[in-house]
């Protein structure tokens, strides 16, 4: 559960969301990612560290460079986070619909 909460906090930060967006289309090195932001390089490194720690990003060694890319599996898991909440309302509304359809025919 703790890891999951961290994931949610990780994507709550606008810079980290921008990093994820940037990496959505391609794998990049830390330097190339940092070049897209006004923030200091160590700050970007810190963000990369957090995203990697909660498994949203994966590192890949390519020669002397380390490339970061998005973990599709983890991103899907985050998207699914909202599913139980949606299911709860969907169940309630399905019940409402059935109930009122019967109400209608009883009249």
């Amino acid at each position: 559960m703790n890891l999951r909460r961290d994931v949610f906090q990780a994507i709550a930060d606008p810079t980290r969301r921008a990093i994820l967006l940037l990496l959505a289309s391609q794998a990049m090195t830390a330097g190339a990612i940092a070049a897209n932001f006004d923030t200091a390089r160590p700050t970007v490194s810190k963000h990369l560290q957090i995203l990697t720690k909660c498994e949203l990003l994966e590192q890949e060694q390519n020669g002397r460079e380390i490339y970061y890319h998005i973990s599709a599996r983890k991103m899907k898991e985050v998207a699914d986070f909202i599913e139980p909440f949606r299911n709860m309302w969907d169940d309630r509304f399905n019940k409402l619909e059935t109930l009122m359809k019967n109400y209608q025919s009883e009249k």
Binding site: I82, F85, R86
Partner: protein, 160 residues
């Protein structure tokens, strides 16, 4: 048939929007939100009070099979325009021993006629903070295991 309820919760915002289209005439959809005994049935809770009018208030309470209160919430109604809209507050009361502190949330319910037999509900919920919204979104996820366990207990107790 896919699920019909849609949730829109943008990152970093302290609100969410729930939308749903119903195979029901507008009047019946609205009635299901206004009459205490009907609300009780589809919400699966006891409606202790629901005074459906401007300045009215409401209180829900859910108990488990043993009679313990597992959920209690209350609020007031600010706007009540039949077949059009309900504006109300919603506050979940903390259960003893719970570490989660809830804050009042503001709910805007808008009812819309689509055809003579279909209608739409748009429910906008505004929370005190982004963190609280995210917490509420995650709640059913965290409760999933508990609920599965309770349902199993229900089934077992009915076998006896």
């Amino acid at each position: 048939m896919g699920q019909k309820t849609k949730i829109s919760a943008e990152d970093g915002r302290q609100e969410l929007v729930i939308t749903r289209e119903f195979d029901l005439p507008l009047e019946l959809l609205f009635k299901a939100h206004a009459e205490p005994d009907i609300v009780a049935q589809w919400m699966g809770t006891n409606v202790l009070k629901l005074d459906s009018k401007k300045h009215g208030s409401w209180q829900y309470e859910t108990t488990d099979a043993a009679g313990n209160v597992v959920f209690r919430a209350n609020g007031v109604i600010h706007e009540f325009v039949p077949n059009h809209k309900i504006t109300r507050t919603f506050e979940m009361e903390s259960t003893p021993g719970s570490t989660i502190q809830f804050a009042v949330q503001l709910e805007f319910l808008e009812f819309e006629k689509l055809t003579d037999h279909t209608s739409k509900l748009r429910m906008q919920i505004v929370y005190k903070s982004v963190a609280l919204r995210d917490q509420m979104l995650r709640l059913p996820f965290a409760q999933g295991l508990n609920m599965a366990h309770n349902r199993l207990q229900d089934v077992v107790s009915k076998l006896n």
